[in-house]
């Protein structure tokens, strides 16, 4: 198993009221950005990644979001390039570059090749479609998002493998001279791990390309369903999926005492948590989602889908002004959701003693070959962040590694995803173990 460390690199200094007033992280005015604090934090987070390496994590993962204090990784390839130089051993995992948002796959091929070369082959590329809000931020036409994602990916693979110069005239991208001089250090190119939040289309695409799919803290039951979809699709393509095809990322926060851990963990819901990343009108730009996804949303009154419930959709037409008394109500609801998220194992909070059994449940059920800890969000001090990391690395990770070995969870470097052949007519093997879910009340 490859064990990774991840943080969104949150900007921790926006007043909570500003987030409440805005009803989300996206679209908070950048008047709240303090240049000195920003400079300190960027440097701190680079140091933190080095600390993760020192503590023995196999990988540090980076991501990218735009126009939001939720994540300072606006251009994560910049950070990846620095880490390529200042770290020695860790894999640098990108989860992932938003191809339709960046809209320049040739430039992307060049950037990543440089990073892979500087790191001498430690890059793991990953691709995402970009959040709904980022289609607005980057003026990327959401109706072409999926097409642009597919085309950009196919182009990059070609740019890394087909000797140039050659001409490319696609639907969305056009290049008259493709000949990137620097090619990735890894031959033919770095592994690609694809993060996702429960999109069946993405899972099928991963299975077709034999890329590991990394569930981003997704609910365990539906994640099992998606693993099955992947496995079915893998069978169609003639291979048996295994732990090397799956990854899972889980928010985990530790402290010396339960009380302290609970206090720190609240950072996860700071300003509304992940589900309040953006408002419904930003989460669902036109054409961004497939017809089946839209149909699913339309038919789920009161239900929730990708963090957008019908209730939230209704609320979105109301006047966004929020009165002080409403803040208390928002805080109360967030506090409830914090408890609920822990109960549903969508976040894990506690001391090493209380965290270990929960962390072990995930590989037992989901059997991933990649396990990434998503670290503290919100206004938590550097010292507390580092204590949490130390506890994680020294007390939780060794137990996890032993357990993964016991379960035989190979990672994508030990066993190439897609190499286990499936024979015609043979029934595919199970990729998950749902049995513990009933005991945990997660069915």
């Amino acid at each position: 198993m490859k064990v990774g460390y991840f943080t969104e690199r949150p900007y921790r200094w926006v007043p909570e009221e500003a987030l409440f007033e805005n009803h989300a992280f996206f679209a908070v005015s950048n008047k709240y950005f303090d240049r000195d604090k920003g400079a300190d934090d960027y440097n701190y987070f680079l140091d933190e990644a080095c600390y993760a390496e020192d503590l023995g994590f196999d990988a540090v993962a980076l991501n990218e979001h735009h126009g939001t204090p939720f994540c300072m990784g606006g251009v994560m390839n910049v950070e990846a390039a620095i880490l390529a130089r200042i770290t020695k051993k860790v894999k640098i995992v990108l989860v992932g570059n938003p191809l339709p948002v960046i809209k320049h796959p040739l430039r992307m091929a060049e950037e990543l090749a440089e990073i892979d070369l500087i790191s001498r082959g430690r890059l793991v590329a990953g691709w995402v479609r970009g959040a709904g809000s980022e289609q607005f931020f980057n003026n990327a036409n959401p109706a072409y998002n999926r097409e642009m994602f597919n085309e950009a990916h196919d182009f990059i693979v070609q740019a890394w493998t087909r000797p140039g110069p050659w001409r490319y005239e696609g639907k969305h991208f056009h290049y008259r001279h493709v000949n990137p001089w620097a090619l990735p250090y890894q031959k033919p190119y770095p592994q690609m791990w694809i993060p996702g939040v429960l999109s069946p289309e993405t899972v099928k695409w991963c299975a077709e390309h034999r890329y590991p799919y990394v569930g981003l803290g997704t609910a365990i039951g539906p994640t099992c369903d998606l693993w099955d979809i992947y496995d079915d699709e893998a069978a169609k393509h003639g291979y048996q999926a295994g732990s090397e095809n799956f990854g899972y990322l889980i928010p985990t926060f530790l402290a010396e005492t339960e009380e302290k851990a609970q206090e720190l963990g609240k950072g996860f819901i700071y300003g509304g948590g992940q589900t309040a990343f953006s408002r419904p009108e930003h989460t669902l730009p036109p054409g961004y989602n497939s017809k089946s996804a839209i149909r699913m949303l339309a038919k789920q009154p009161g239900g929730s889908w990708l963090g957008v419930s019908q209730t939230k959709l209704h609320m979105a037409q109301e006047d966004p002004e929020t009165a002080e008394q409403e803040y208390q109500e928002i805080r109360r609801k967030l506090s409830e959701s914090y408890k609920k998220a822990q109960k549903g194992m969508q976040i894990i909070v506690g001391t090493p003693k209380t965290v270990i059994p929960k962390v072990k449940t995930l590989p037992q059920v989901l059997r991933p070959g990649i396990f990434i800890f998503f670290h503290i969000q919100g206004p938590v001090s550097n010292a507390d962040r580092m204590t949490s990391m130390r506890l994680m690395a020294n007390e939780v990770v060794p137990v996890l590694r032993d357990y993964a070995k016991e379960l035989g969870l190979a990672d994508p470097y030990e066993r190439t995803p897609g190499e286990a052949r499936a024979y015609a007519g043979a029934q595919r093997l199970p990729v998950v173990d749902r049995e513990p879910l009933a005991t945990l009340g997660l069915v």
Binding site: F136, E281, P285, P286, G287, A298
Partner: protein, 262 residues
């Protein structure tokens, strides 16, 4: 109420669904970016002496999407083919909002295609003053309410958009929004070259209708069309927003009928 029916016409390489009702000379009606809301009072008023032909835009749910249409100019070219193949030209047209953009593209490429052109709060030209409302970062409910000046006092608004949205309506709106984004995302709901191409349109009688409380299309768009099409007439309707046809149906239909009779 006038009888109307929905039929599929095989035309211009498409299975174009078209609403047809009324009697008399054809009147082409191009619905707006939210889709065809159904047969309304104003349809009835105009259908008394005209045959209304209302094509349902490709990609909006009923007429299948045409992959090759990637801009309003493409869409205008498609409708040009429709009009010619159906031997309707020259035809009178009433076009709403984003379809004002479509109609303008049509007439720019073929100045003889329309005998009269009515553009109601048309998009398509970048205003010197004001901005066309960015409709994409809005939920459909918010957008619908923004289209009229006083939603609760507009009876036909309540009739077509009141109550809980059904899953089918939600899906239809999402289809409309997606197709509009596909062809109008950038430059946002306008074509920088259109104002130059419209200068070749000298002889098409043109009426521009605009509600003085329009929160979607600013008056600057009307001014831009006036600059581009010399002799274009303007009718402003007080106290209505972006949907004068339902907010003040009487004044709207009078303006259209008077103009078409001229």
């Amino acid at each position: 109420m006038t009888q109307w029916k929905e039929e599929t016409v095989k035309v211009a390489g498409a299975d174009l669904v078209m609403v047809k009702g009324g009697t008399g000379r054809p009147l082409l009606v191009l619905h707006d970016e939210l889709g065809y809301p159904g047969w309304m009072q104003w349809n009835d008023a105009l259908a008394k002496d005209r045959t209304l032909l209302i094509p349902l835009q490709p990609g909006f749910g009923k007429t299948p999407r045409l992959e090759w249409i990637r801009s309003y100019r493409d869409l205008g070219g498609f409708y040009n083919m429709v009009v010619r193949e159906m031997k309707l030209d020259p035809v009178d047209v009433v076009a709403f909002s984003a379809s004002g953009f479509t109609a303008a593209e049509m007439v720019a490429s073929d100045p003889k295609i329309f005998s009269h052109m009515v553009l109601v709060a048309p998009m398509g030209l970048k205003p010197n003053e004001g901005e066309i409302l960015d409709i994409f970062p809005l939920t459909i409910r918010t957008l619908l309410r923004r289209t009229v000046a006083v939603p609760d006092e507009t009876s036909e608004f309540g009739k077509i958009y009141g109550g809980e949205m059904t899953p089918e309506q939600f899906e239809a709106f999402e289809d409309a929004r997606a197709e509009t984004a596909r062809i109008g995302w950038e430059p946002y709901m306008h074509n920088p070259s259109l104002e130059y191409l419209l200068q070749g349109v000298k002889k098409t009688p043109t009426l521009l209708i605009w509600g003085q409380a329009d929160g979607v299309v600013p008056k600057g768009c009307i001014a831009a069309y006036q600059r581009a099409i010399s002799g274009a007439k303007v009718v402003e309707i007080a106290k209505v927003g972006h949907r004068p046809e339902i907010e003040n149906s009487a004044e709207f239909t009078t303006a259209v009928k008077t103009f078409l009779a001229g």
